[in-house]
Symmetry: C2
Subunit: 308 residues, 2 copies
């Protein structure tokens, strides 16, 4: 009898679940909106419903467990979300125990960026390595660090806050209290803010700015060069710290790769002696927004928890 | 029958070796000058002689192996030093194999800052944790990362180049090709350079600047405040990345702790949300310049290599 697990990707907008077997084949997927405004109990009920929906696809195979990727800080040993700007109302919510109770199956909770990094390691661009760093370039910037094939958690579970690495000491103010955080200079939000400051328009999306740049708009091109420089500074520091073989980028800004990558690589080359001395790869992630689903589903396989 | 190992700390100036048993008791120590100008063969002969000297103290106990801490980049799987400004003439020298040949015993090579971090983990300030980062504040700044009780090496062996983290993007030029490396703003060399620029004197040592500051010299105090700010920026980034329970500082600048620590902690607090949310400890290392000896001696115990 084969084994499968269920991965859940809980976002502020979408809620997705998938049944995935040990070989990484997706057996079934369910997708819907996250009923955030209805509160934690409604969200949990939807999570459980979507798990039960994809569970049927497992047929006679054994369910190893359920993994859930969620935004915010997670106290790993307690399965509690302590802080999550993208999930208002979930502060100090005992997500893991509540879902275990309703589902009568073992549940593992993981930060969404960590889950995405693990997914890329299992079935994506990082399949051939045991150590990698993933940066997700979206509204903010998330980070996931895979060391020896496992998520690096730190002692509380807050490791990988790579969006809050300082890249420009006197740079843009961040809600975290710092100035010059990476996510204030290289996220989709940073791209649109820079475009606004350069007079390109008030209501542009990062995609709009990307299209302007590709059409030859010099100001829009400068936006992505600056973004690439900030990203390169952070990556240079990460390469000097970890000397990992692979660093992956994903998220909504990824389609602008050709626009920001040259400045990014220039900056890394200049600022990292480790990069210059090694064959470090800095590449696009390949699983897109399914990385988190795969990573969440991989958690039960990795932890060897067996469902009753 | 008990077991012991031999640790060697090879520096650009001093060469030390010690026999240490499994409980961490130093059985014997040998210390001398490193005969650098006589070339690699002379240095290797002295390393072997100092190992044989302390080996006698092991008596009937079983020698588990020999660990050697050395400055520079080490290609771990080959036991070769690729680049070491502090050991001229050793570029691409097959240190490990040469000493194994002369000694007829298994030898493990490790970067000196990594060895110091491991020593602090085994017998120093990090005894109660499995994860820590050590920064050695000397002529340059070295770094060692201990994750799950072991040195984090990266895929080549170059991880932990923490002295080359960028803290001030347009800062002081570094020999590595970057501007604003941590070691250009927070090492003993940076302290004396800042003191010189502020007109405190041309030939001061970091110790002189420290004494001036303690005696009330405002310019000297500003030097250490700036050093503390740079250190705090790097530590904030490390805390956000690793969420480890412990970060240790050691090296020649450590006696100035009271002068730089307040600015350092201010900066970390402001720049790291992970620091503010956790009980992260940032402390002085406790083994001083014996950390590298202990760490080197711990390598054979950790790797379970058995001597013939």
């Amino acid at each position: 009898m084969g084994e499968y697990s269920i991965g859940v990707d809980l976002g502020g907008t979408n809620l997705r679940a998938a049944a995935i077997d040990r070989a990484g084949t997706m057996l079934e997927k369910a997708e819907g909106a996250t009923p955030l405004s209805a509160g934690p109990d409604a969200v949990v009920a939807d999570i459980v419903a979507s798990i039960l929906k994809v569970r049927a696809s497992g047929g006679a195979e054994r369910l190893v467990g359920v993994g859930i990727g969620t935004p915010g800080f997670i106290i790993m040993d307690k399965g509690i979300i302590t802080e999550s700007p993208n999930l208002p109302g979930f502060e100090n919510f005992a997500m893991r125990d509540e879902i275990e109770r309703l589902l009568q199956a073992p549940v593992l909770l993981e930060n969404d960026a960590n889950a995405a990094a693990l997914g890329e390691k299992w079935m994506g661009a990082g399949r051939d390595v045991d150590d990698l760093v993933l940066l997700t370039l979206g509204t903010g910037i998330g980070g996931g660090i895979i060391s020896n094939g496992e998520v690096l958690h730190g002692f509380v579970g807050m490791a990988g806050e790579l969006g809050h690495m300082t890249v420009i000491p006197g740079g843009n103010p961040c809600a975290c209290g710092n100035n010059g955080c990476l996510e204030k200079h290289a996220s989709a939000t940073a791209v649109t803010a820079m475009a606004r400051m350069m007079g390109l328009g008030e209501n542009l999306t990062a995609k709009d700015v990307c299209e302007l740049a590709l059409a030859g708009n010099l100001k829009a091109q400068v936006v992505f060069e600056r973004m690439g420089v900030a990203l390169g500074m952070a990556l240079a520091t990460l390469v000097n710290i970890f000397n990992f073989p692979l660093y992956l980028l994903s998220g909504g800004v990824l389609p602008a790769w050709e626009l920001f990558a040259p400045a990014m690589f220039d900056e890394i080359t200049r600022r990292s002696l480790v990069f210059r001395h090694t064959t470090t790869r800095i590449e696009k992630a390949t699983l897109g927004n399914e990385a988190g689903l795969f990573g969440a589903a991989y958690l039960p396989f990795q932890s060897r928890i067996i469902a009753p």
